[in-house]
């Protein structure tokens, strides 16, 4: 575990930010290696050797190479459990935490990513927004956030009583969504709104945001 950790990625990539947030919460030293996606660096052989899907982020520690942000964060959170913020809950509660990590990955992320693509990234790249896609995905996100509102009425954080990976994994897409018209879906739900304010004000997350400025 003594070898330096390297994160290959882009500061505006939500998946890269997910890993950076985790490393910051754990107060771990790491080397950030920017990948120039504008020139297709992520599709070159040297990068494909660490992430065959040609996506960011990719992670290295000694001989270990990992891809998929949520696999990387779990590796870090379990491997450095004693350091910094405890992002996992050992024992039985881990099962519930795991449920909400999957919820983020499969219920929240696909919908939030599409909305962020339409409302945040497309305008940035000068591509016209697809309003039908926005409407469709806002309707889906509404249903997801209704479930979140009920969950957060009974549990301080999604995975349990403490801030964990289940909450952290949401940060990049929530932060982005809060800069768009989608903000109203979060603001109009009191428990969701309080949870968003709480998790997005964490110093470890603010450091990630600052990197992108």
């Amino acid at each position: 575990m003594a070898e330096i950790m390297k994160v290959h990625g882009s500061v505006i990539s939500t998946a890269t930010q997910r890993v950076l947030a985790c490393l910051n919460e754990k107060e771990l030293e790491f080397e950030f290696i920017p990948v120039n996606m504008a020139v297709g660096e992520h599709k070159k052989d040297s990068f494909l050797a660490i992430n065959p899907f040609g996506q960011v982020p990719a992670f290295e520690q000694g001989d270990l190479k990992l891809f998929e942000s949520r696999a990387i964060t779990q590796y870090i959170a379990h491997g450095y459990a004693e350091k910094g913020t405890t992002l996992i809950i050992p024992g039985k509660p881990m099962a519930t935490l795991s449920v909400w990590m999957e919820v983020e990955a499969h219920q929240f992320d696909p919908v939030a990513s599409k909305l962020n693509w339409e409302l945040f990234f497309k305008p940035m790249f000068g591509i016209p927004t697809d309003n039908a896609a926005v409407e469709e995905n806002e309707a889906k996100l509404t249903k997801v956030l209704d479930v979140y509102e009920a969950r957060l009425a009974q549990s301080k954080y999604l995975g349990g009583d403490i801030f964990t990976l289940a909450d952290l994994h949401h940060l990049p897409n929530i932060s982005c969504a809060m800069k768009t018209q989608v903000k109203k879906l979060f603001d109009s739900r009191p428990h969701v709104s309080a949870w968003v304010a709480d998790i997005t004000s964490r110093p470890a997350w603010c450091k990630v945001v600052a990197m992108g400025k």
Binding site: L64, L66, S69, A71, I72, A95, A105, R151
Partner: protein, 218 residues
Amino acid sequence: MATPVKVYGPPLSTAVSRVLATLLEKDVPFQIIPVDMSKGEHKKPDYLKIQPFGQVPAFQDESISLFESRSICRYVCEKYADKGNKGLYGTNPLEKASIDQWVEAEGQSFGPPSGALVFQLAFAPRMNIPQDQGAIKQNEEKLRKVLDIYERRLGESRFLAGDEFTFADLSHLPNGDYLVNATDKGHLFTSRENLGRWWNEISDRESWKKVVEMRKSS
């Protein structure tokens, strides 16, 4: 003797079958609790208590109630680590991380396009839903690119995470099986040498063959 765990939902469901295959690999006794989706049982208040998104599967093991198939499978592998296939989720953190990355890849890159094709080609006709040719074309294109990556990987390694069959491979069985056996897109697998070899090996596992049997008799 411990109470069998409960799995809510039909074996025909890809996500339910992911859990069943895992339980069979781990030799964990289970009972299937039927959920009549044609009558909307999965959207009724009683069911929403155990799965708030109104989807299958849901799962109970004594006092623990879970949903999301991959987290159910992780729980089973963790709690019953010493039962059945002990290496299914790896035996150390490095192995586990390698498995996790392919489980995530399955969920994020393989699952969406393969799931869309399975829905359009295998399920929509049975449900009298008109097929969306645009979606079929788009998802086939996406899936081809993903399978090219798998082809390369499986040229370096017998299974996705290494030399042994793990949950990373198992996770692909549900969608893969429908693609190969219930649509005309099976060639996407069988025409790729390494992928074809891998597919034959993983779909031949006793646990998966039992799941296929369970589907036929349900």
